[in-house]
């Protein structure tokens, strides 16, 4: 295995823009261009453009694709109409989470599964294995498909002005819907999806055309506050929006019911991988995911202990001083006795006990702010 990082098809643009980079799941990706906070606020108040080309795109094509996904994933995908997207989980036999994915129905007999970069091969291998015997072909197109996200309240206006982008009905496109489009002569898919808690779009296009599309979106964003945004602000945006991140809030020893994800599991389906494990439930005392709010400026961070009366009752999975809300927020896995809203616990912030209260998720909702 080589240690060389994988470069995004947009790498040259990021270097022109003076980005700082980070190793994300083996990819050399922009962590920030200027300031995490400025980029975060741009997405909440105007718009941001992100390179997410590290994400994995796995296609299923053929008349049995929907049935294969119903068996491979936790939700029912075969019945979603053309042009819909749905959040789902890839479970193991024990009913624990191998990855969380978004599935787009891109054709009558075609689906695109978007998996996390770090789980690309786990997801592609599992789906390929599970699709055996169904009338479909599984194709991992991650190397040839780029993903550009445009997120924020101005994103619809900006996309409407992109030169060369041909699409019908973009302004009426609902949340978690997708549309085929063209950029010049290149076919692409536009989803009204995202990982920021704002209105926004995700643009899937051949890697060879991604740089040109990024530049065209940037030009259309002039005068609309569009900023290039790195993975640092993507993390604080998704945290505020109460969205889990695989490897932090989700992992292969947690079941959906522990992490508020039971809604992504359809137990009315006949058979799917993980069904028995999910039905077996969790042991008494199994940790559950909660949201914590504290005062001041000092945030709990991943792996910090959570205490009650000096006893460790949980662990922080993600945390930050919320740029939008101004107070520290965190996800934590805690003993179920401490999961009730209003429960006060202590976060061990490098030796200092910082009180925190269990509050409802999401921490930030754009609807609640309006």
């Amino acid at each position: 295995m080589s240690d060389a990082l994988i470069l995004s098809p947009l790498d040259a643009i990021h270097r022109e823009l003076g980005a700082s980079f980070t190793d994300f799941a083996g990819w050399d990706m922009p962590v920030r261009y200027s300031s995490d906070l400025a980029e975060h606020h741009a997405v909440r108040t105007a718009a941001g453009i992100f390179d997410l080309s590290h994400m994995a795109e796995i296609y299923l094509v053929g008349p049995g694709s929907g049935a294969a996904l119903d068996y491979a994933l936790s939700g029912t995908l075969s019945t979603i109409p053309l042009g819909r997207a749905k959040y789902s989980l890839l479970l193991n036999d024990e009913g624990c989470i191998l990855d969380d994915v978004v599935v787009y129905r891109t054709g009558d007999e075609e689906f695109m599964v978007v998996a996390n970069a770090g789980n690309r091969f786990v997801a592609a291998d599992a789906i390929r294995e599970r699709a055996r015997g169904f009338e479909c072909v599984v194709r991992d197109d991650s190397d040839s498909v780029a993903l550009i996200a445009v997120q924020g309240p101005n994103s619809a206006t900006i996309l409407a002005g992109v030169a060369g982008l041909e699409v019908e009905g973009l302004s009426e496109l609902g949340y978690y819907r997708c549309l085929p489009a063209r950029f010049g002569s290149t076919p692409m898919i536009i989803g009204r999806t995202g990982y920021t808690g704002e209105d926004g779009f995700e643009l899937y296009i051949a890697s060879s055309d991604a740089a040109e599309l990024w530049r065209a979106v940037t030009v259309a964003g002039e005068g609309h506050g569009l900023e290039p945004c790195g993975l640092a602000c993507r993390d604080t945006l998704r945290l505020e929006a109460g969205m889990p991140l695989y490897g932090h809030e989700l992992n292969s020893i947690l079941k959906p019911e522990q992490v508020n994800a039971a809604r992504a599991v359809d137990l009315t389906k006949d058979n799917f991988v993980g069904r028995e494990g999910v039905q077996a439930g969790v042991s008494a005392g199994a940790a559950v995911l909660v949201g914590l709010r504290s005062e001041g400026k000092r945030a709990g961070r991943a792996d910090y202990a959570v205490h009650s009366n000096g006893r460790t009752i949980g662990t922080i999975t993600s945390g930050a001083l919320s740029p939008t809300l101004g107070y520290p927020i965190a996800f934590a896995l805690v003993e179920p006795d401490f999961a009730e809203l209003g429960t006060v616990v202590d976060i061990d912030v490098r030796g200092t006990a910082i009180p925190a209260t269990v509050i409802s998720l999401p921490f930030y909702s754009r609807k609640a702010q309006q």
């Binding site: 300031s35 995490d36 906070l37 604080t236 400026k297 490098r350």
Partner: protein
């Protein structure tokens, strides 16, 4: 990357301006850029005696936490209140308004020149 030549540095990415027996301390632009936007600073208390190399505080950014090390030994005479109130000054002006604390020096630690520091971060 700005590395003022009139300052001295440490391998922990701090800068020191020695004026008589007082040393003014901050973190370098390189360190501030690496941390990202700084949102909280924990500075040593005035009157505290510190030893070079010891952890004396923290700088928290949106993404990470960095420890502050004492670059010199002595007694803390001032902590910059402006940066406690507005930690973003460390990002915007690390060698000026973003200074962190000052020390009445009893002994200087292992300080390095601007050239040596430039070579260190180029590695």
């Amino acid at each position: 990357m700005s590395i003022p030549t009139e300052l001295q540095y440490t391998s922990e990415h701090e800068w020191v301006r020695v004026e008589g027996d007082i040393a003014v301390v901050g973190i370098t632009q390189y360190a501030a850029d690496a941390l990202g936007d700084i949102v909280y600073l924990d500075l040593p208390a005035v009157g505290k005696t510190i030893s070079s190399g010891a952890v004396v505080g923290e700088a928290e950014s949106t993404k990470s936490v960095g420890e502050l090390f004492a670059p010199v030994s002595g007694e803390v005479v001032e902590a910059n209140k402006a940066v406690s109130d507005s930690p973003e000054l460390v990002n915007s002006d690390p060698y000026g308004a973003g200074w962190l604390f000052s020390v009445r020096v009893s002994s200087l630690g292992d300080l390095i020149s601007a050239d040596a520091y430039a070579a260190l971060i180029a590695e």
